[in-house]
């Protein structure tokens, strides 16, 4: 969520300018060129702690037992696609409730992307150039929506739908309304960072060459912003798929339940590996979209200093 900066070339860490002769006599601890073993261990330990449980949870979705805490061989897909086993257990793609949750999750993600990204991109361009007091207010609102804890946003959105905007029914419409409000700041922040880094020269050149304002936007500015717009789509998609608080507060009938809500309620009960399958399915979808977004981002920002993971990371 900060402006892209020039990526560091790898290896700017202190290099060894010839090993000093007295090095052998120095204790290991005092050696200024020693490898940062402690930090390295901490980093790998952190990464293992952070990712191994998730990998185990993915693995558990292929278990053939009822429990999602102890793996039972053999590996099966029965909690993904199986029918009628072990009493009334259901699998992810067969259980009508889970299927409706999958549908609702994707409906919300696509609707939110379709609304939040165009609104946000226009908002970002406008905020970047619109001077004056109202612009500052709008910018403040946008940033506030970014930092306010989600529970506050969820409760306020719930109450406005219940008591003032009664024409927005709870369920899909209310969920989309709140999600767009919460997600709009991502495209705004990402696109503004990109606007700062591309500067005004290209547009000025276009206008000097006679392009009217509209064309200089559609043919110069928007193509230049494309990497940022794609990154916004990917991030809004991934974040909406995973959203739980907002979606849960504004849900109505059973059809407006999403996968994340199913995971939440079933985890607190007696979860079967179908819950793990649902979570893994969400993870696969977001990974797919993020990878797609990343490839497109790299293709579009080829030859620029901030291409690559570092550039994308500095935009998150």
């Amino acid at each position: 969520m900060s402006a892209p900066t020039t990526t560091r070339t790898p290896g700017r860490a202190p290099t060894r300018p010839g090993t000093p002769p007295e090095r052998a006599r120095q204790s290991w601890f005092r050696d200024p060129w020693r490898k940062p073993r402690v930090l390295e261990t901490i980093t790998w330990a952190y990464l293992a702690w952070s990712l191994l449980p998730v990998m185990l949870a993915i693995f558990m979705s292929f278990s053939s037992g009822r429990s999602n805490s102890t793996f039972q061989s053999p590996l099966t897909l029965q909690y993904w696609v199986g029918t009628g086993f072990e009493g009334d257990d259901q699998s992810l793609f067969r259980d009508p409730d889970l299927r409706s949750a999958i549908r609702q999750t994707f409906t919300l993600s696509f609707a939110t992307m379709a609304l939040a990204v165009p609104l946000g991109v226009a908002f970002a361009i406008g905020l970047d150039r619109w001077r004056g007091r109202p612009a500052k207010g709008a910018n403040f609102l946008m940033l506030m929506s970014f930092v306010v804890p989600e529970i506050i946003l969820g409760v306020t959105a719930l109450y406005v739908v219940l008591y003032l905007f009664k024409f927005i029914p709870l369920g899909t419409p209310a969920q989309i309304m709140a999600l767009v409000t919460f997600q709009m700041s991502y495209p705004v922040i990402i696109v503004r960072a990109r606007l700062l880094s591309i500067g005004k020269e290209y547009e000025e050149a276009a206008m000097d060459l006679g392009a009217p304002p509209k064309q200089s936007i559609t043919r110069v500015l928007l193509p230049l912003l494309m990497p940022a717009i794609l990154a916004s789509f990917a991030i809004v998609f991934a974040d909406t798929i995973d959203d739980f608080v907002t979606v849960a507060y504004l849900s109505g009938a059973a059809e407006s339940q999403t996968l994340s809500m199913k995971i939440y309620t079933q985890t607190r009960g007696a979860p079967t590996p179908a819950v793990n399958a649902a979570a893994t399915f969400m993870l696969i979808s977001t990974t797919f979209v993020i990878a797609l977004g990343y490839l497109a981002y790299r293709r579009l920002s080829r030859g620029q200093s901030d291409a690559g993971v570092g550039g994308l990371a500095s935009q998150v």
Binding site: A3, Y46, L47, S69, G126, V147, T181, T267
Partner: protein, 317 residues
């Protein structure tokens, strides 16, 4: 307004544009052009972000339907009544006081653990990442696209009574622990696990931008590597640390699902749980609104601090 598509700007347009150009816009666009881009977003934010806050205030200071106990918001400030709100605030200082204090303790513990561990990781990757930097970055970003609930689900399966953690403990001939039965340790570590990625990435972004000339100068002037760290790197990263602490602790204050998934016991109730319970209990509408307003007020200063520090950071670059 004249058609903005005209190729040749008229004299007056040109002059106005030039005046604006001098006024740092740089490019010749008709006046009010950019306002139109920002209008839909601004309207959306006012309708669905500002108005809801007014509704919350109106519910908090409104009345309750005498039969159904459902809130009746009062939109006219001169008819607001503050009795119910005072009662709710009284509860915060009464029965809920301990949960509020507990929330502060948990959040302070969890975010300082996030800071120590997160700083070490961010520092290592930014200074010694070397050729593996890309791999590290992908691994550090990946929690962002793994669903938060899935990450908690994973720990829940590990920590249940017959889960692998207790299996390991009994293998080591240690007594099993009821991790999910209201252990504060589980909740605090769960918060650290959940929010530490938000700490590492901004810190990495900052540490990566530190001019290495400053560190080399420190070394040239005779400071040892650890002195360079304590006297140059760490003081330089103070603003980034403060911003990262705010960004991890804000969502922790409103978190209720981590607690519900990893403990669900009255022994670990936090502010978020109280608020969530009030929202889900019928007849407590105004109380939930008051709790929301209290939480918002509590967090206003850190939020404003964060906004100011990011604005300053952007201006500096």
């Amino acid at each position: 307004m004249r058609s903005s598509d005209a190729l040749e700007p008229t004299k007056s347009e040109r002059r106005r544009a030039e005046r604006e150009a001098a006024n740092e816009t740089g490019v010749w666009y008709p006046k009010g052009y950019w306002k139109r881009f920002a209008t839909p977003g601004t309207l959306w934010m006012v309708l669905f972000f500002v108005v809801p806050f007014y509704v919350i205030v109106s519910v908090a200071f409104g009345t309750v339907d005498p039969v159904f106990r459902s809130p009746l918001p009062v939109y006219q400030p001169w008819w607001w009544s503050f009795d119910a709100a005072a009662e709710a605030v009284g509860k915060i200082f009464g029965p809920f006081r301990q949960s509020y204090i507990r929330t502060f303790v948990f959040v302070v513990l969890a975010s300082s653990m996030c800071l120590v561990l997160g700083y070490a990781v961010a520092y290592y990757v930014s200074r010694f990442g070397g050729r593996r930097r890309t791999l590290f970055l992908v691994l550090l970003i990946s929690p962002f696209w793994i669903s938060y609930l899935m990450r908690m689900l994973a720990w829940r399966s590990l920590l249940t009574n017959d889960g692998y953690v207790n299996d390991f403990l009994s293998f080591m001939h240690l007594p099993a622990v009821g991790w999910l039965e209201g252990e504060p340790v589980t909740v605090v570590l769960g918060l650290v696990y959940g929010y530490i990625p938000y700490m590492i990435l901004p810190l990495y972004g900052f540490l990566d931008r530190i001019d290495s000339a400053l560190l080399e100068a420190g070394r040239d002037l005779g400071a040892s590597p650890s002195q360079t760290f304590w006297k140059v790197t760490l003081p330089l990263s103070k603003p980034a640390i403060a911003a990262a602490l705010v960004i991890v602790s804000l969502p922790m204050f409103g978190d209720y699902y981590t607690n519900n998934m990893l403990s669900n016991s009255p022994r670990t109730v936090m502010i978020g749980n109280i608020l969530d319970d009030a929202v889900n209990t019928s007849g407590q509408g105004p109380e939930a609104a008051v709790f929301t307003l209290v939480l918002m007020t509590m967090l206003l200063i850190p939020m404003l601090y964060y906004l100011r520090s990011t604005a300053r950071e952007l201006a500096r670059r």
